[in-house]
């Protein structure tokens, strides 16, 4: 029966009234026309069609109230002909008046709005085309923002008063903490990369997640630590610590961004990572966000640990992470820069926008505690995953990269929308991100999201915390020496006492060999030194810079041993072989790996061949056979 098959829409009003309405429906709708109604269904349908014929449709539309007109306009100016109930509710805060209905939602008397929607509230195509000629477009979906952030958040509570023996409801003010991330993100990026350079970032080779020791080390280099400092819980059943967020996110972000690569269990800087250390952080942060939105390295949903089934049955129903991030990223582009927006408002805005997203296609397989009782497919769990996913992406990744400033309260008790779900009684919070209450898109965020084409914020303030002395010592005299700076100093200088490092040519050469450049070190020190670098230091850098470029690695070569010095001289001077080898000592020749074939060919023409060495050189238990000997061809 066609009336149940409206996925492709309803082509005409004729089809709608004949195929998607029964006689009873037509009678109730026809009653709104004010005409005497016939009894046959076909005649009833004709009454409706006539009522909307020609210019009469405009008259009918004009009888609609404001919200009803908005409902019509939303569909008329939408790609779909289906009325978007959820989106409409999110945008207008209410449903349009569809008329009265019985307690099951059926029957009752329809409103005039029902002249435009049939079946499962679908607007016929021809009707839509006619309406479009006079119906004005719907109001634009706008996000509400605040100039000033409230200092406190009135957090509703519901708790049992054991003395009064009754349940208490109310709200209490909670101080809102603000973390401005635009500059700190730039500093933290360098600090984390330096930590990687110092070989102090260890991650799991399977998941890419940082070890707990690494998270501690990263937390120490973060500006003022992570969002929520660790508080010793009263007992293990009442642990309200949110745990690390930025410290957790940074290793994943830089892995996804290709700034680091895994070497064993440790991360090491790639060429891009090393380049990032020498460049302003802004571009790198933009790239990191872009790459993060595309990465499949990690699904943020896994950070909402109370949601089980993510690696089991529920895994198949999860939507692509990139599509979720893209939806959130897109909605962020519509947020005004520099104004505070509540996360609830952003969620509303997201739902009201056409590019809403879902975390799972089948939430029945995701659950809390127990698949049967705690499934998130039950009523009451709608939207909870999407909201928490959005909070996670914003708080843990966007804010870490400096795209947004975050205003937050402790997560425990911050949101109560999950409290009616089965199995949540013991949870201090649904996710560690529940405390994010407001955010503000930064100028860096606008640039990273592509809203603005350039970024002209003040450069990252580099604190002049060092004194580079002419005796090649570096004294950390400032009160704000960051751990990242300490690591950078450790990498290029010798730590001689609490706050003193000494520049040494040998250490600089080591750093250069490890991939740093003397220029990087010079810039690092120059930026943090309160005065121009002393002449002695500048000269040291020049010396090391020159020396580090004077010996070049030209690849592997093979050492060939000749029977005697005369033979070595013969081969080294013969026109057929001399281009491909170099003399090394009396009886030895060195053949670059790239010339080996040509050398062997020339050698055969001279009348010799390279025989494998009879005695192999054992070195530390590993046999190497790089040395070859030359024998006459006849003998061979």
């Amino acid at each position: 029966m066609r009336r149940y098959d409206a996925d492709g829409g309803i082509p005409t009003l004729d089809v709608a009234v004949s195929e998607f309405m029964n006689a009873e429906d037509l009678k109730r709708l026809g009653a709104l026309t004010g005409h005497k109604l016939p009894t046959r269904k076909a005649d009833l349908a004709q009454v409706i069609i006539c009522h909307l014929e020609g210019e009469r449709i405009r008259t009918v539309w004009q009888t609609l109230d404001e919200i009803q007109r908005a409902a019509v306009a939303e569909v008329v100016y939408s790609r779909s002909t289906q009325f978007p109930a959820d989106r409409f509710r999110a945008k207008y805060g209410q449903d349009p008046n569809w008329g009265s209905a019985d307690k099951y939602g059926y029957g009752g008397n329809p409103s005039a709005l029902c002249f435009f929607f049939y079946g499962n509230r679908i607007m016929p195509d021809d009707l839509k085309a006619r309406l479009k000629t006079f119906v004005p477009p719907p109001a634009e979906n706008k996000v509400q923002s605040l100039e000033q952030l409230p200092t406190v958040y009135d957090q509703p509570f519901e708790r049992w008063n054991s003395k009064k023996k009754k349940q208490e409801h109310g709200s209490e003010p909670i101080q809102i903490a603000v973390r401005e991330s635009e500059r700190s993100a730039q500093r933290e990026l360098f600090s984390v990369l330096r930590l990687v350079d110092a070989g102090k970032v260890t991650v799991s080779d399977k998941t890419g997640k940082a070890s707990s020791a690494t998270i501690e080390a990263i937390t120490a280099v973060l500006d003022s630590g992570d969002y929520y400092p660790f508080v010793q819980p009263q007992n293990k059943w009442h642990d309200k610590n949110a745990g690390p967020m930025r410290a957790f996110a940074w290793p994943l972000l830089i892995q996804a961004g290709g700034l680091v690569q895994l070497s064993g269990s440790k991360l090491q800087l790639t060429r891009a990572g090393r380049k990032a250390l020498a460049e302003p952080a802004v571009q790198t942060l933009k790239t990191l966000w872009k790459k993060w939105t595309d990465t499949t390295l990690f699904d943020e949903l896994s950070r909402i640990e109370c949601v089980k089934g993510q690696t089991g049955k529920g895994k198949h129903g999860l939507t692509a992470v990139s599509s979720r991030r893209e939806a959130i990223s897109k909605v962020l582009t519509n947020c005004p820069v520099g104004r505070w927006i509540s996360t609830a408002e952003l969620l509303r805005f997201l739902r009201a926008a056409e590019n809403d997203f879902a975390v799972s296609r089948n939430p029945w397989n995701l659950y809390i505690c127990d698949l049967q009782y705690g499934s998130l497919g039950y009523a009451g769990a709608e939207g909870i995953l999407e909201e928490r996913y959005m909070l996670c992406l914003l708080f843990e990744y966007a804010a870490t990269l400096g795209l947004i400033d975050a205003a937050f309260i402790p997560p425990a008790g911050a949101r109560r929308d999950y409290c009616d779900l089965w199995g949540t009684d013991e949870l201090p919070f649904f996710s560690r991100y529940d405390g994010l209450m407001f955010f503000r898109v930064t100028a860096l965020g606008a640039y990273s999201l592509g809203v603005t084409q350039s970024y002209k914020s003040a450069p990252v303030e580099v604190k002049q915390v060092l004194r580079v002395l002419p005796n090649l010592e570096i004294a950390a005299i400032g009160t704000d020496l960051e751990l990242g700076d300490r690591l950078a100093l450790d990498a290029c200088a010798v730590h001689t006492s609490d706050l003193i490092w000494r520049l040494e040519a040998r250490r600089l050469l080591e750093a250069t060999e490890g991939g740093s450049s003397v220029e990087e070190v010079r810039e690092f020190l120059a930026a943090r030194n309160g005065a121009p670098l002393p002449d002695t230091v500048t000269r040291l850098f020049e010396d090391v810079g020159n020396r580090s470029a004077q010996v070049q690695d030209r690849g592997f070569a093979r050492l060939i041993e000749c029977a005697d010095a005369a033979l070595a001289a013969l081969i080294a001077h013969d026109t057929r072989t001399r281009k491909h080898c170099l003399r090394a000592g009396e009886c030895h020749l060195v053949v670059p790996a790239g010339s080996e074939t040509a050398f062997r060919r020339g050698l055969r023409e001279v009348g010799y061949l390279v025989a494998p060495a009879s005695a192999q050189v054992a070195n530390g238990g590993q046999a190497t056979a790089a040395k070859k000997t030359i024998r006459p061809l006849a003998e061979a």
Binding site: R467, L469, P470, N471, L472, E473, A475, I477, T479, S497, D498, L499, I500, G530, A531, P534, D535, T536, R539, D543, R547
Partner: protein, 562 residues
């Protein structure tokens, strides 16, 4: 009180203290810190001091209490003082004065503050052997001739003795400082020189009379010696490093005091006389016929009843003289030096046997007050020719330094420097005789080397002083005690392997204040990309740490600039 961020001191857990000169109250902080901390280095911006047992005991010897030291640190420290440092100060300071050596008739009495200390030192392997006779639970009798070695052993045991045993009176010396020097110029002891002498003498009390004065080269340590002699007014033995230095002492004594020629005797290789004031060298005192023999000339210490013994350049005091000095604790002893840093680390012997540091003043302070000339130091990197580089490359590692040091290309740049400063009074100093001989011949300047007779040396120096000579080429003999006040350009063509002392002493040759206030220049020529650079690096450390601006230039750059 200054805000924490503005405070000048940073106390580190290894007992070093950084003084940031740019901090608003840096001068106050330095004044508070200097009495009980040793200035280790003083490059621009940040000076490093170190709290050592000796520095704290030195301070205690001047009456500074441990609590005052801690208070000074707390008042000026930017960050909280590491607890170990505070404890270290309190504990070390508490040790000073626990043991006192005093005279009791003809014997010496070693008294301990408490029974535990007495037991501790009695059982000490080093000190215990000299505490022969126990008078009471906390007192020991000590043989007078063990006074020095006991003090040495007590310092080693960590319980420095306060020596209140006093001094034997020497023969009276009729000495007055002149108001006008013999050469006719007005003469006055500078304030800091007088303060230094008075800090040593302490009005003749038992607490004074022995100690070390630290003043930079060119600041007039000899004058401090003369002022001390004037205060003591007793027969004096002066120990100097070289014969040239002896001559300089003689010249200064005659010029600036009422002493006559016959009052001053020289006990040197040339003549061995003693007089009310006797001048000698470490070299002659430590001479002996063979390695197993005694040092016959150490008897000079007992030749007269000296009222004062002056050790010039005390940081170079040789071991035999230390041993002899241990027996001379009943004589007043004055050490003079530009630095207490001894390459052999025997600073504690200087403390125990000569005495605590009585006076110290940073080089840069005197430079600001124009008591010593301002100096700029430039290291000039001279390239080697291709042939020389090959010779260097093929030389044995130990010979490479010499190949680099004697780089003939240095001659070109030496000439350039001489041409660049046509009015300068020049000293050229090198470490290798062949090299300095060649240079002397090429530039037509007289050479003073070890084999140059003393009379000839004096003649050359005199001609230089009179302005008849513009340039002198010196071998290592020029390192010390050449008083050529007008020299203002020193060109070092080669130096010893990284000796910081040598570099500082050589610079000292041109630091005498100039009558027209012009600055001194110190060029050191170093062969580029050779080991000489490494050694030069060590040598220059000392000067940069003393606050001298040290530039490193490529020779080509300087030539182009010209």
């Amino acid at each position: 009180m200054a805000a924490a961020a503005n405070k000048a001191l940073i106390v580190q857990s290894d007992c070093s203290v950084l003084l940031e000169l740019g901090a608003p109250h840096a001068d106050d902080a330095r004044a508070a810190l200097a009495p009980f901390a040793e200035l280790v280095k003083s490059p621009e911006h940040v000076h490093t001091y170190r709290l050592t047992p000796l520095s704290i005991w030195n301070a205690r010897s001047t009456g500074l209490a441990a609590e005052q030291m801690v208070k000074a640190l707390r008042e000026h420290a930017r960050y909280p003082i590491p607890s170990n440092v505070e404890q270290e100060i309190l504990q070390l300071a508490a040790r000073y004065g626990r043991v006192v050596i005093a005279r009791d008739g003809n014997i010496l009495r070693c008294s301990c503050q408490d029974h535990i200390t007495a037991e501790r030192i009695a059982r000490d392997k080093g000190a215990g052997q000299y505490l022969t006779d126990r008078i009471s639970p906390t007192e020991f009798r000590v043989a007078p001739d063990a006074r020095g070695v006991l003090k040495q052993a007590l310092v080693a045991a960590g319980y420095p003795a306060e020596d209140l045993a006093g001094y034997l009176p020497g023969e009276h010396l009729n000495l007055e400082l002149r108001a006008n020097s013999l050469s006719g110029k007005p003469f006055q002891v500078r304030d800091y020189q007088r303060q230094a002498a008075e800090a040593f003498h302490l009005a003749g009390s038992e607490r004074g009379g022995s100690g070390v004065i630290v003043l930079p080269c060119g600041a007039g340590k000899t004058i401090v010696g003369l002022a001390a002699m004037d205060l003591v007014k007793q027969t004096t033995l002066v120990l100097a490093t070289t014969l040239t230095s002896v001559k300089q002492w003689r010249r200064e004594l005659l010029d600036k005091t009422s002493l006559r020629q016959e009052d001053i005797a020289e006990y040197t290789g040339e003549r061995k006389n003693t007089g009310p004031v006797t001048l000698t060298t470490y070299q002659i005192l430590t001479w002996r016929g063979d390695r197993a023999a005694e040092f016959p000339h150490l008897e000079l210490f007992r030749a007269r009843s000296w009222g004062l013994i002056i050790y010039d350049e005390v940081h170079l005091l040789p071991a035999p003289v230390f041993r002899a000095t241990a027996d001379l604790q009943a004589r007043r002893r004055l050490g003079l030096t530009a630095t207490l840093v001894r390459e052999d680390g025997r600073e504690s012997d200087v403390f125990a046997l000569i005495g605590p540091k009585r006076f110290d003043v940073p080089w840069k302070d005197l430079e600001r007050q124009a008591w010593i000339a301002t100096a700029s130091c430039i290291e000039l990197r001279v390239p080697m020719s291709a042939e020389r580089r090959m010779e260097y490359a093929l030389a044995e590692r130990r010979s490479q330094f010499r190949v680099a040091a004697e780089n003939p290309a240095k001659m070109i740049h030496l000439r350039e420097l001489l041409a660049r400063y046509p009015d300068a009074r020049v000293l050229v100093i090198g470490a290798y005789i062949d090299q300095v001989e060649t240079i002397a011949t090429e530039i037509g300047a007289p050479l003073v080397a070890g084999k140059t007779p003393e009379i000839e040396r004096e003649r050359i120096y005199e001609r230089f002083r009179k302005g008849e000579l513009r340039c002198i080429v010196l071998s290592k003999v020029g390192n010390f005690a050449i008083d050529l006040p007008d020299a203002d350009l020193l060109i070092q063509v080669s130096g010893a392997f990284g000796s910081r002392q040598e570099e500082a002493q050589r610079l000292g040759r041109v630091l005498r204040p100039k009558y027209d206030g012009r600055a001194a220049r110190f060029f050191t020529l170093v062969s580029r990309d050779t080991r000489e650079e490494e050694f030069a690096h060590h040598r220059k450390l000392f000067l940069t740490e003393q606050g001298y601006s040290y530039q490193v230039r490529l020779a080509e750059e300087l030539s182009k600039a010209r």
